[in-house]
Structure formats: structure tokens, C-alpha cells
């Protein structure tokens, strides 16, 4: 069960000239380089091969690496994720793509009750270097069953790590790092971000996989979010700035673990914090961040950490209702006014 050791992320393969890329392309490059570097890396998933992946992430890899390393699977989520675990135990570095997060509900036994627990249950003898990628979030009118978010389910599980890259650069960095790591790692991607562009440099040294990033500096309030909600926060921050309120926007990048030191540092400066999440509020990830920040930064906070989250409903199909069901710029503005008002008064 020997497994190939790996070099660091920054120096993978050779550079490709690509100043601006879309998220799916960055992920594609990360996969390609990992597969070139390590013959133990292979992909399992529905339509990842011949079809090239529902979101083009695996495009070209089937032709380049063949069917054994890019395997089109039947619709058998629980079992092909379980097979990923088995292959990881035997020495491989499997990368499983679950076509969307919604179908992961069928594979949670393999993820939560097998992958996450084997190292511990075996007294450290076994390791499961498995990466499970899943597109998720609320996209465009996909209906309730295709808009289920699972962040809250996965972050609670000892043994798992959960990263949520939202930019092309982070997608490349964090997926590459996840493949190099020796733990089961969930890479949550957002369906509406695959085709968004952003600066990309494959040679830039990567920050720690679980670090958060300040996307905009500000002194009055800290907005914490991930995936698509980061851009909504930036939009709100822009409008707030016009009103003289400077919001600091933090992209969490990782949900398990979380980069609390960065959040604390920001709150020490702003004294006010709001978590914005696409997941439902009740028992969502925002609750953990709020509860913890309230505990560790109590003295710094002028008001308790607020949460702006999705409405407590299954996602409706109707486009207007769907938009209204998840945080919009105006929802963030209202929340900011409340906390700033509250604490000013």
C-alpha cells in the first residue's frame, strides 16, 4: 500500500500562458497536472469521461489518460464513492466527482461513516486520501431537489475537511492541495461560478489550503461568506462605501477547518460581523461561525454576530421566488444598517 509522495502545489508541471481563466478551466488544469504528476490519481464519476463532465471540468482527460483513469460510472453514487474509498485504501489517490451535491445524499454513508472514520477506527493504520468534488449551491431554477445544500452536514464530521473555492485561482490551488493531502477532502464547487473568469497563475505559490482571504478591506463591519455570496457581499460593500460605510469582505475558502484568526483580526478592527450564507440559517454553517466568534471575540464585538441566510424553504422553481429565497444585496445592506445602527446608538 505504498503511495507516491508529492511535491508542493506551487511548482506543479509547467506553466500554461493563461492570464485570465474560468473556474472550470482552472479545475481542469489542476486535475491534468495532478494526473500527469502521479499515476495513482484517477477519476470516477458520471459522464466525467467521454462526455467531458457536466461542467466541463474533466474535459480532455478521458482522451489523454484513458478509461481506467477517467471512469464513467453508472448512477450508483453510494457505491462509486465507496469504491473510491477502497481504491484509496489500496494505494490510489481517487478523485470522485458527484455530479451535483444533491446526489451526495445517497453517498453519505460512504463519506461520513466510512471515509471519515477509517483512519481513526483502524488506530491509524489505514488512510483515505480521497477527494470528492461536488458542484452545488442554488443555481438557476433547478427546483427544490437540485438545490439542496450540504455544507451544514459535512462540516460537523470529524475526519473530513471541507474547502469551498470560489475563484479560478483558489479552485486550482485548493483542488491541487486536496489531491496532495492524505485525508478525505470534500471540494464544494458552485454551479454558477464555473463559467466566471478571474486572474490565474499556476506558478504563484499557494496559501494554506484552509486559510481565508480578505477580498476587500474595511473598518466598519466584517462580512464573511463563501462561494457566490462573496460577490454579493462585494456588491453590497460597494454600495455601502458610497454611503460612507466601509465593509471588510472575507472569503472563507474553507469551512472545516475555518480560519478563525483571520476572522478575529478583522472583527478586532471592525467590531461588527455578519455571516452571509446560501444555506438555510437554522443550523447552518453560519451558526457555527457566529457562535464561535461571539465566544472568542466577545469583548471586541459591539453587537452579536448576525446571520444573513437563505429563507427556511425548499428552493422554489419560480425565478422571482428563487431569487428571494437566498441572500441578495439588499438583504446584506439591511443587515449592515441594523448592526451599524444598533452599535452606533
Amino acid at each position: 500500500m505504498t503511495r507516491q509522495r508529492n511535491d508542493s502545489v506551487g511548482s506543479i508541471g509547467t506553466a500554461r500562458p493563461a492570464p485570465e481563466l474560468e473556474v472550470w478551466q482552472a479545475l481542469n488544469i489542476a486535475l491534468d497536472r495532478a494526473m500527469e504528476r502521479d499515476s495513482g490519481v484517477f477519476i470516477l464519476g458520471e459522464d466525467v469521461g467521454l462526455f467531458g463532465g457536466s461542467y466541463r471540468v474533466t474535459q480532455g482527460l478521458y482522451a489523454k489518460y484513458g478509461e481506467w483513469r477517467v471512469r464513467d460510472t453508472p448512477i450508483s453514487e453510494n457505491s462509486f464513492v465507496g469504491m473510491g474509498v477502497g481504491a484509496a485504501l489500496a494505494g490510489g489517490r481517487p478523485l470522485v466527482e458527484i455530479m451535483t451535491v444533491n446526489f451526495a445524499l445517497l453517498a453519505l454513508d460512504s463519506i461520513i461513516n466510512i471515509a471519515a472514520k477509517l483512519r481513526y477506527m483502524s488506530g491509524g493504520q489505514l488512510e483515505v486520501p480521497l477527494v470528492v468534488r461536488m458542484p452545488g449551491g442554488v443555481a438557476k431554477q433547478l427546483g427544490a431537489q437540485h438545490s439542496q445544500r450540504l455544507e451544514h452536514v459535512l462540516v460537523n464530521v470529524p475526519g473530513l475537511r471541507v474547502v469551498v473555492p470560489g475563484t479560478p485561482q483558489d479552485s486550482f490551488w485548493q483542488l491541487s492541495q486536496a489531491i496532495l493531502a492524505d485525508d478525505p477532502i470534500i471540494v464544494l464547487e458552485h454551479e454558477l461560478l464555473y463559467f466566471t473568469k478571474g486572474p490565474f497563475d499556476a506558478e504563484m505559490p499557494a496559501p494554506p489550503m484552509h486559510s481565508a482571504a480578505v477580498r476587500r478591506e474595511g473598518r466598519d463591519v466584517t462580512l464573511m461568506a463563501w462561494h457566490r455570496m462573496v460577490s454579493v457581499c462585494l456588491d453590497a460593500a460597494g454600495q455601502l462605501s458610497a454611503r460612507g460605510i466601509e465593509a471588510e469582505v472575507i472569503d472563507l475558502r474553507s469551512l472545516r477547518p475555518i480560519d478563525l484568526p483571520l476572522l478575529r483580526a478583522s472583527v478586532q478592527k471592525t467590531h461588527r460581523a455578519i455571516v452571509i450564507e446560501e444555506d438555510c440559517r437554522f443550523g447552518g454553517v453560519g451558526a457555527e461561525i457566529a457562535a464561535t466568534l461571539n465566544e472568542v471575540a466577545y469583548a471586541d464585538l459591539k453587537s452579536p454576530v448576525r446571520r444573513v441566510a437563505a429563507s427556511d424553504v425548499p428552493t422554489p422553481y419560480n425565478v422571482e421566488l428563487e431569487r428571494a429565497s437566498i441572500p441578495r444585496t439588499q438583504d446584506i445592506l439591511r443587515a449592515v444598517e441594523e448592526v451599524v445602527g444598533v452599535s452606533a446608538g
Binding site: E46, D47, L50, F51, S54, D72, T73, P74, I75, S76, N78, S79, N102, F103, L105, L106, K140, Q141, L142, G143, A144, Q145, H146, F282, S311, D312, V313, P314, P316, Y317, N318, V319, E320, L321, A324, S325
Partner: protein, 325 residues
């Protein structure tokens, strides 16, 4: 066969074809959102099997269910309005293309997670059997769905307890871009039935009469208390998996070969040749359907949007914080 039934088959299949064509156009124009899975090429399956059932029976279908809903009695206007996400839609605009429901007609959906239809259908059947009802359940699923664990789990229980379910496999050879020989070790879906002691047979899914006859025999079996039955209908979808899929993974030859066996055209020719229908009658059907589909689109476009985000989550409004101010 009776002219009445022949006209019904023709009407249903023309409606199916034209409705889906209109849906595709409305999707392209941006009036329909989300995933849109269309049925052209597979019409004979839904029409042949559903017309063989009793109106009192239950139907459980997949996300490719517009036609099943309409043949089962849901009005084209209500279906189109649902695709538009309007309050007048059969799910009030909350469900969408993949989630059509009509409790009154016992049309129970509309399930978007592959493999969900099996257990739902078996559960309805369990209740019918337990309450000694004469009704049965029709359960639709695709060739790809047959690889989901629920297929195995449910067929075993349905057989074990002799539940009144007719499992209808819409084998269109593909699981999105993965051809059946690449997703199933034994591509003859009907052969799986025997692993549960269930009678299963394969039928030409491009021939509405063949599907109808097979379904009648099967329903007879199911209704008589002999337990479940499985029919595998060999069919084909002309379009990609959904509007988002050009279907580039299929050869032009394959497509042409199947189109040559078009269920709608072959039936029309046969009906004329057999004298079941006259040219005039066929023409009337086309016109009648055209009017219905045009009206469906007009109605949908003119319908109001649903406005209440929070209703129908629970039987009565529930405050998560127990009365939090």
C-alpha cells in the same frame, strides 16, 4: 382496433410531440428555466402504457414527465404554466418541469433524483394492497435508473409482498452521455426482473400498439394480485438529455436509423393503411392539438407569478423559534 382508441393514440402522440416542441421554443426564448428534459421519440411508451391503465390508478414518473402528466389528465395549460413557473401551474409554480403533480388525478410526480420513483411507487402500492384497494401503480424509470440501489431494494420488496406495481422501463439507451453498454453489465433490463421472481418482458417502445398490448397483459397480471410486473420498452430520445445537451456523443447514423422508426409517423401510416383513421381525421387531430398547444403557451404567458415564498413548507405555518418576536 377501435377507431376511438386509434384516434386517442394519435392525439396523445401529436400532443406530446407538439407540446415538447413548443416547450423547447419557450425555453430558448427564456420563458422556461432550469433543466428541461424532453420526450420526442419516446411518445409510444407513455401513451401506450398509460392508455392501458384505469383512470383510478396512480402514476409515478421521473423528471422527463410532461407527457405522462398530460396523458394522465393534467391539462396542457397547467403543465405549460408550471414550466413557466406560474401560479396556475399544476404545482403552483413551485415545482417546475421536473416536479409536476396533480393529486386529483393521482399523478404523484415528477422526481428529479434518479431512482426515487421505485420506492415511492412501491409505497403507494403497499398502501393499496394493505387497504385491499383495486387500484395499482405505474412506475416509470430509465435504463440508467436501473443501476441505482433503490431498483434492487424496491423490486425485492415489491416481489416479496406481491405489491401491485407495473414497472415501466423507458430504455432510451442512454444515461445522459453514457450509452447503456457502458453503464449496465446486463443491458437487457427486463432480465433483471427474474432476479426477484418478477415477470418481465421487452417490447418495442417505438410501437404504441405493442406497448399498449404488453401493458394490458401486465396490468391484468398486477391487478389480479400476482404482484409486480416489469416491462422494458426499447425506445430512443431524439434530442439531447436536456436542453443543455446537444447530444454530440451519438452518431448521426444511429439517430437517423431510429428516426426512421418514429413512433408517431409509423402509427399514423399504419392507422391510415388499416383504415383506423382517415387522412381527414389525422388532419383534424393536428389542428386540434395545435390549438391546444397555442392556448397552453398563451395561458402560461398570461398567468400570474406565485408570490408567497413561505407557504406549504408545513401543514401549518411553523415558527422555527417557537414564537420568536
Amino acid at each position: 382496433m377501435q377507431r376511438k382508441l386509434a384516434r386517442q393514440f394519435l392525439y396523445d402522440m401529436v400532443l406530446a410531440r407538439q407540446f415538447e416542441q413548443a416547450a423547447a421554443e419557450q425555453y430558448t426564448e427564456g420563458n422556461i428555466g432550469g433543466f428541461l428534459h424532453l420526450y420526442p421519440g419516446e411518445e409510444a411508451v407513455a401513451v401506450g402504457s398509460l392508455r392501458a391503465a384505469d383512470p383510478g390508478d396512480y402514476v409515478v414518473s421521473t423528471y422527463r414527465e410532461h407527457v405522462h402528466a398530460m396523458v394522465w389528465g393534467v391539462s396542457p395549460t397547467a403543465v405549460m404554466a408550471e414550466l413557466f413557473g406560474r401560479a396556475t401551474g399544476c404545482s403552483g409554480g413551485y415545482g417546475g418541469s421536473m416536479h409536476l403533480y396533480d393529486a386529483g388525478h393521482r399523478f404523484l410526480g415528477g422526481y428529479a433524483i434518479v431512482g426515487e420513483t421505485f420506492a415511492i411507487a412501491a409505497g403507494v402500492a403497499y398502501w393499496l394492497r394493505m387497504t385491499e384497494s383495486a387500484q395499482i401503480v405505474l412506475c416509470y424509470f430509465g435504463d440508467g435508473a436501473a443501476n441505482q440501489g433503490t431498483f434492487h431494494e424496491t423490486l425485492n420488496m415489491a416481489a416479496l409482498w406481491k405489491l401491485p406495481v407495473l414497472f415501466v422501463c423507458e430504455n432510451n439507451r442512454y444515461q445522459i452521455g453514457t450509452e447503456i453498454h457502458r453503464h449496465s453489465a446486463v443491458p437487457d433490463i427486463y432480465r433483471h426482473a427474474s432476479a426477484y421472481g418478477i415477470d418481465g418482458r421487452r417490447v418495442d417502445g417505438m410501437d404504441v400498439v405493442a406497448v399498449y398490448e404488453a401493458a394490458r397483459t401486465a396490468l391484468q397480471h398486477v391487478r389480479s394480485g400476482n404482484g409486480p410486473y416489469l416491462i422494458e420498452c426499447e425506445t430512443y430520445r431524439y434530442r439531447g438529455h436536456s436542453m443543455a445537451d446537444p447530444g454530440a456523443y451519438r452518431s448521426v447514423l444511429e439517430l437517423a436509423e431510429l428516426r426512421a422508426r418514429d413512433p408517431l409517423e409509423t402509427f399514423r401510416q399504419r392507422a391510415l393503411a388499416q383504415g383506423w383513421l382517415s387522412e381527414a381525421e389525422c388532419g383534424d387531430v393536428d389542428k386540434a392539438v395545435e390549438a391546444v398547444v397555442t392556448e397552453a403557451v398563451r395561458f402560461a404567458a398570461a398567468s400570474p407569478q406565485p408570490t408567497d415564498l413561505g407557504r406549504n413548507v408545513y401543514s401549518e405555518p411553523l415558527d422555527l423559534y417557537g414564537g420568536r418576536p
